[in-house]
Subunit: 525 residues, 2 copies
């Protein structure tokens, strides 16, 4: 016999819930949103996967300290170099290279907290950062956007708002990244104000500041404080913002990056230090070298932040993947990327720091490749105990596109992962031996009280996956998952209702933006 279910009609009862259909008719909300998982603190109950032995970890640790001490990192900010010189670091001023003593680095890294909390304007959306808690983030960074209705195009504020609405509507999204898509229709020097206004009015979840220079960060701090109804200095003891700070690998810390990081840390907000280490391009082609360089660049920058603002929340970021050796193009969701996501978690735990990783792919279409590459990266991130999993919803084309259909597919994948993390119960009643006795040999369990009393909650109910038989699926149009996703994001956007916000706060945010735009004019923020 083979593992294929018989067509026995007794085993194939139809009991699509009448209540469900009624809800769909009477409510303005898309019906599939009714059954989404609640917003929740997701804790991975299983031990992490560890591709590196403790000897490997020690070797990477020592090599990365050697890189920091002997090769150094180029720091473009004059003030950052001056600060590090005052801390006793050796500085090659002709080339702007800073060298750090390994013991000093470790003393600084030890000042960082291993766990902290981020409180957005809705306390129900508070995030724990650390331990085995997993938080999934909206895509951030792409210059372009794509959907099946309007095609591929440069991102605008309208697209940005659509992404924030989707991120707010789906409980599986815990936080918004630095910039869901570039708002290329707006002036570069003030677009961060429009994005922040949209984010803080359309969403009440943890969100990010853009991380280019100090001015944009100060605006983010001010506006987040307004949205919470507190003063900026109150955020110090109760951080709300996160920001991703990339190192320009190999070993360059750009001034905009260090300025942003230092300003965030000054206000007690979370900086995520993420070297941009694509193996074969920005690091040597080997895994050992990439990890050592990632670790060196992360520790160096964390030490900088902690030396000036000890105890400021920081996150160890890993973004190690490989390039296509034939074209030089970045690749994601590869075996190397999946392994790096796990190994990065090992390194972060070695330093007792929270860990940021990603769930990316390099596909040009929302197809099987997009799904399996994302899964490879996502499983690496989840089994690597990533605390912040960036780009988990909507990333496509190696990050050049934010895709609405991919976002819907990603929500399904994240929800499945959240369900997998639930610990099943093993108490007496769960074993159902009475039901087994009642049903007897060769029967079925569809109609038993044991089944019926649990039928609504027994299994994860998918949003996008279609489990109809082939004939019914064909009758319903024979749509692929990607084709079905188009209706889903449209429904969510059409029925979107912004989370409640005190009109006075809304006005204050708008006033702040208007005032700042006038002040900035054609200059720099």
């Amino acid at each position: 016999m083979e593992d294929v279910m018989s067509g026995d009609p007794a085993k194939s009862v139809s009991k699509r819930s009448e209540g469900r259909r009624k809800r769909a008719r009477n409510s303005s909300k898309p019906s599939f949103l009714d059954s989404q998982l609640p917003f929740q603190n997701v804790v991975n109950p299983m031990a992490p996967l560890e591709p590196l032995t403790s000897d490997h970890i020690e070797a990477v640790h020592h090599k990365s300290l050697e890189i920091i001490q002997r090769l150094g990192v180029k720091v473009l900010s004059d003030s950052a170099r001056a600060h590090l010189r005052s801390c006793g670091c050796q500085v090659d001023e002709a080339n702007h290279i800073v060298f750090m003593d390994p013991e000093w680095v470790m003393a600084m890294v030890k000042k960082a907290p291993s766990r902290f909390t981020l409180l957005p304007r809705n306390p129900d959306h508070t995030l724990e950062i650390g331990g085995a808690v997993m938080n999934f983030g909206l895509v951030s960074g792409p210059p372009n956007v794509h959907d099946a209705i309007n095609g591929r195009r440069a991102g605008t504020l309208a697209d940005f708002k659509t992404l924030i609405k989707l991120g707010q509507s789906f409980n599986a999204v815990h936080f918004m990244g630095n910039q869901a898509v570039a708002t290329t229709d707006l002036p570069v020097n003030t677009r961060h104000l429009d994005s922040l206004l949209a984010t803080l009015t359309l969403s009440d979840k943890v969100s990010a500041s853009m991380s280019i220079g100090a001015g944009r960060v100060r605006d983010a701090v001010q506006m987040m404080a307004i949205s919470r109804g507190v003063k900026p200095e109150d955020l110090k003891s109760s951080p709300a913002l996160l920001t991703n700070i990339n190192i320009n690998s190999p070993r360059v810390l750009d001034q905009e990056m260090s300025d942003a990081a230092m300003t965030l840390a000054e206000y007690g907000q979370d900086t995520i230090i993420t070297p941009f280490t694509l193996m074969g391009a920005m690091t040597p082609v080997t895994f050992a070298a990439a990890l050592a360089q990632q670790n060196a660049e992360a520790l160096f920058t964390i030490a900088l932040v902690q030396s000036k603002f000890p105890g400021a929340p920081v996150v160890y970021g890993g973004f190690t993947s490989n390039v296509d050796m034939r074209s030089g193009a970045p690749a994601f969701g590869t075996p190397e990327n999946s392994r790096a996501n796990m190994a990065g978690g090992q390194l972060a735990r070695y330093y007792n720091l929270p860990y940021r990783t990603s769930a990316c792919n390099a596909s040009n279409a929302v197809d099987g490749q997009a799904a399996y590459e994302t899964q490879m990266a996502l499983w690496g991130a989840v089994t690597g105990h990533g605390n912040l999993i960036y780009h988990a919803a909507g990333w496509l084309e190696g990050g050049l596109v934010a895709s609405f259909e991919k976002l819907i597919m990603d929500i399904e994948m994240i929800q499945m992962m959240i369900s997998l993390m639930q610990t099943p119960r093993f108490d007496e009643d769960e074993f159902g031996l009475d039901a087994m006795e009642d049903v007897g040999v060769g029967g079925h369990f569809f109609g038993t009280e044991h089944t019926l009393s649990r039928s609504k909650t027994a299994f994860y109910e998918p949003m996008l996956s279609d489990w109809q038989n082939y004939e019914n699926w064909q009758l319903a149009g024979g749509l692929t998952a990607t084709e079905r996703a188009t209706a889903h994001w449209q429904e969510v956007v059409e029925n979107f209702e912004a989370p409640p916000l005190d009109p006075a706060i809304n006005d204050e945010l708008e006033d702040y933006v208007a005032k700042r735009k006038a002040a900035i004019g054609d200059g720099e923020p």
Copy 2:
């Protein structure tokens, strides 16, 4: 800054290998097969993921023994019941129910080997079964076949041969399952002979016997012996065949199944004991109950086999997934299925038995759903330390269809998993500090000797994934992964060369089939 690679042309060199293109022109083999991974013994170097605590395992163990002792299993074979009665088991003859004593069950289960070897006619394709070794199998069981050229249809011998050719050509496939697709164009009572002839002439990998009754199994043993150039009794000390034996859950052991299992065990061949436990249909809806019932049915049948043929190779099989509670349709690649794949491994290890699991999905199309559901199941299987991962290449539609395009996508996914299992090196030269020093800050590593000397082997090179930029991908037709897969399977089939086989053995196999067909006539095999 965001995690998106700059368009810096210095970081995007093109160096598509000239040698590669030459090979593609001069060889009759599809060029993408040149770069496939070698056939290999894949060992998972990481600890398994364990969703169950040791208390949970103990609870499942004791509940399953209670099921065997108190509720019993219906055994339809008179001879099997008679044998079990002679072993001291209690038998309810009116209802054909057999009850086993827990201590006796455990004593029998302990007789099974924890590890064994399967030797097909090509010794290079020998499989290790046990420990952390992973073997990936071709789809088996579907009545239908699908490809983009000829559509969805009932399977024929021609389709069966296509699937065997694909399974033979891809090194990622370790073994052929019971029946890649039903050969519905052939008479039911002799089609196993045609399938076996095709399998043993087109492939030299480990393959399976059909498991319906003793006659078909004897034919498989005879023909496998012929293909190896040995006598059937020689296979006892050197098994070559595997067979999946499903329990007709809940708790029915069909006569054809026990007859097949006992005949295989008599010849020392591997039986895989797999309860068919879809939660909510064949078991109670709860995870605890499904695991207890799976475990009860598996242990019961393993005890039966071991009591008659102690030491015969057996594998603990798990096939626990859930049904769609709205329609009763089976679902695969769900969070519950992924967790069951891991938990089954914990139970198999508890009994020191090799473990069979699966990588299935319930999608109707070779789309994102097919990919993400397969990945969920595959990761459960791999992190659960599955030794035999059934249906890993070509399964679609909950097992109602063997898909040629899905098979190509699956090969890519398996190869990525095999690559992930490789342990990276951390010796001095791998760290590449000299290369880092040479390149300096802000440079790139494309042209360094450290990179160039490793460029061919540094990363997994995909077969199906397309990493071109969007513009080039569009120029090449803008094909999805599924659309690209069509050309791939066609190329492999068109260029297929059967593995070498002594013409005398080929004749002997054909003679055996002709003789047996004449003997069977319109009767039962």
